[in-house]
Amino acid sequence: MSAVQTPPLLELEGVSKGFPGVLALDDVRLDLRHGEVLALVGENGAGKSTLMKLLAGIYTPDAGVFRMNGQELVIDGPRHAQEQGISIIHQEFNLMPDLTVAQNIFIGREKRSAGLFLDDRALNARAQELFDRLGLALDPDEPVERLTVARQQMVEIAKALSFDAKVLIMDEPTAALNDAEVDVLFDLIRRFRSPDTGVIYISHRMEELARISDRISVLRDGRYIDTLETASADQKQVISLMVGRELRSEQRPGPVAASDAPVLSVQGLSTKRLLRDVSFEVHAGEILGFAGLMGAGRTEVARAIVGADRRDGGVITMRGTPVDIQNPADAARLGIGYLSEDRKQLGVLLERSVRENIVLASLRDYVSGLGFVNNRRIEATGKEYVSKLRIKTPSTAQLVRNLSGGNQQKVVIAKWLAKDCDVLIFDEPTRGIDVGAKEEIYALLRQLADQGKAIIMISSELPEVLRLSNRIAIMAEGRLTAVLDNADASPEAVMDYATRFSAEGTIA
């Protein structure tokens, strides 16, 4: 160690933060050096987001010291954090859906004339400049509520980068992004990095760490565990530091016995907006993976099947009988469940308890003839899934709002596991879930399939699709371009089918 060492860009020491019933952070330390990307990893609920929210001035710490370039720093609110050069991309979106992209990005920083008047044209131009610089194809004038989750994430990223930030914090920025978009993001991060800036990067995607980070800090149960140089660390080691045990991954599955009659069959599914003649079937005991680029229409297929969106054509058949599904309630009655990709808007009841969320889809099973609910059995089911999925919560009565992002996702998964469906459609089920828990969820899905359920799994993480699916359906621009057996599917093959745009001619 050399004697003359410049102090790190950012240094945290002895940081603790408790919530009622939870000690989220316990004497944590962390240092971010100039010009580096520091990855922060840990299981769901380890305290990563809480730590970052302390830095962003959203929470105040119970104890601990922050130093920036050696100077002690007391952060007084989000505004102050921004002024100190700390910029954050939140795990959960913080956008104003009714405002446009440009208005969102510059909210609170509008240029006004006469103290009052705004010039949206100038604002749009400024945003366009920013997008050009960052290489993002966003329309400044579009209302944010019309954007998909992925593009909303892009807005968040653009907003964070629009500040003159020294420290950029990214809390699972890639959870909603696909590979191509991750490339853009990494490109941005590399361009942002300079000798007087630094990035704290939180992710559950282990393979990203090697690509982008310089060092990796690990949190477990609110405590600081260790920091590794990325170059010398291997993934297994990081994971075992995170979860405190070894994980083993299973092999890729093969096709199920072809003799099985399909449980769900979709013929010629079309929607006005996007889908064109999508046809496929799923068998009992099978996991059918859906791959494709963002906006390829996978979510729309799922929503159209369960009646959440209007179908403009197509026949859905369950076990050989055509069925008429008008809304998700019809679908649920027929035994089709849909786990949405948008957790906050379409997944959880934030202000209700964990157990209420878990039994929401299956509530009728807990109701006597007179309509009375059996709270004891609900509690039992809640407990069962909390332990089965290792949901980190002080009790099943905890409000879902107070869980970490990954644990909220587990609650949504539990909701569908608790309901006895014949067909389960999981849209990005492992979004925000830590590596250890992912394995457990994979195992659960496999187990469900083995019990004879038909599972459709939409995922933007190709490795996950390849890992889990018996067959893989690939979509591009609202059409199904291929359905491959797992054995025939390589990442290259999938990408090939996923980029067969209609402009190039008819689909294979």
Partner: protein, 344 residues
Amino acid sequence: MSPTTTPTVDPQTPSTSAYAAIDAGKPRFAWVRGSLQQVLAAASLIVIVIFFSVASTHFFTANNLISILTAATVTGILALGTTFVIITGGIDLSIGTVMVLCGVMAGVFLTYWGWPLWAGVLATIVFGGIIGLINGVNVSILGIPPFIATLGMMLIAAGLSLVISGTKPIYFNDTPAFQQIMNLSIIPGVRFPLGVAIFIVMIIVAAILLSRTIIGRYTFSIGSNEAATALSGVNVRRWKIIIYTLAGLFVGLAGVLSASRLSSAQPTGGMGLELEAIAAVVIGGTSLQGGKGSIIGTVIGALIMAVLTNGLRIISVPQEWQSVAVGIVILVAVYLDMLRRRRD
């Protein structure tokens, strides 16, 4: 409802500065605090009662307390039903005039058509349910915002009451027993009216419905996140219709009781009653954003309003000052409630 009646910061009032709100109290022993909260919410009520008891010897008498309960009965029953609607995130502005219309219909059934008492009463309650059902369909199937759907119904009902009654009160001369529904003394010696007993029963019914049945569960779920509830396979449209219908049944009952109390169906009035009922609900801690609320809160809210009105009259506050006093007390009571919750 689970005992977790959320002491978290009300999203309606994120004004502790929104981010502080994010940091604000998360429940440790949520259920203990939940019930504590309800006890404490009663604190304002108790303070007000003590104040008036000290201020006038006429206040804390059996007779006057019964008068207060009697005065609270009709608004209270309206508020009970409307609590469900408000927890779904909706609103029902029509309850006042629909109640009046239900009274008129009771007059039609009993006096014009000469139906037997039980049939007329039942039909009136069902009529209220049907209006609720129409509100539900307008909101849930046609997609009209609840404010507008029920504002339209408010106006329609106000007009229909006049049309149907010929703008004259209808008297229940042929069914003198009708007025006993509200007024019958059920405890010998004390003037404890049957209507108040019905109110108490309805409180219990509503509390059980909200906290122990599937209707209550879905009421909270829909108010908490309607889209997520629908995607969980709950037929949200149907349940919303059911909830508005339920509220309508309460309105029908309130119509019976108020007509019974006045021994006549008055075809006018009712406007403004909806604000009173909604105020009772909101003072009781139910959020107009939906997803949060309780029956006990609504009852306390209704009692606060009734006690205030009565007490100010008892201590002979000049009438022009009465509404000033009510306004200030409501503000202070709710503010203290906020403070307490924030401290949690």
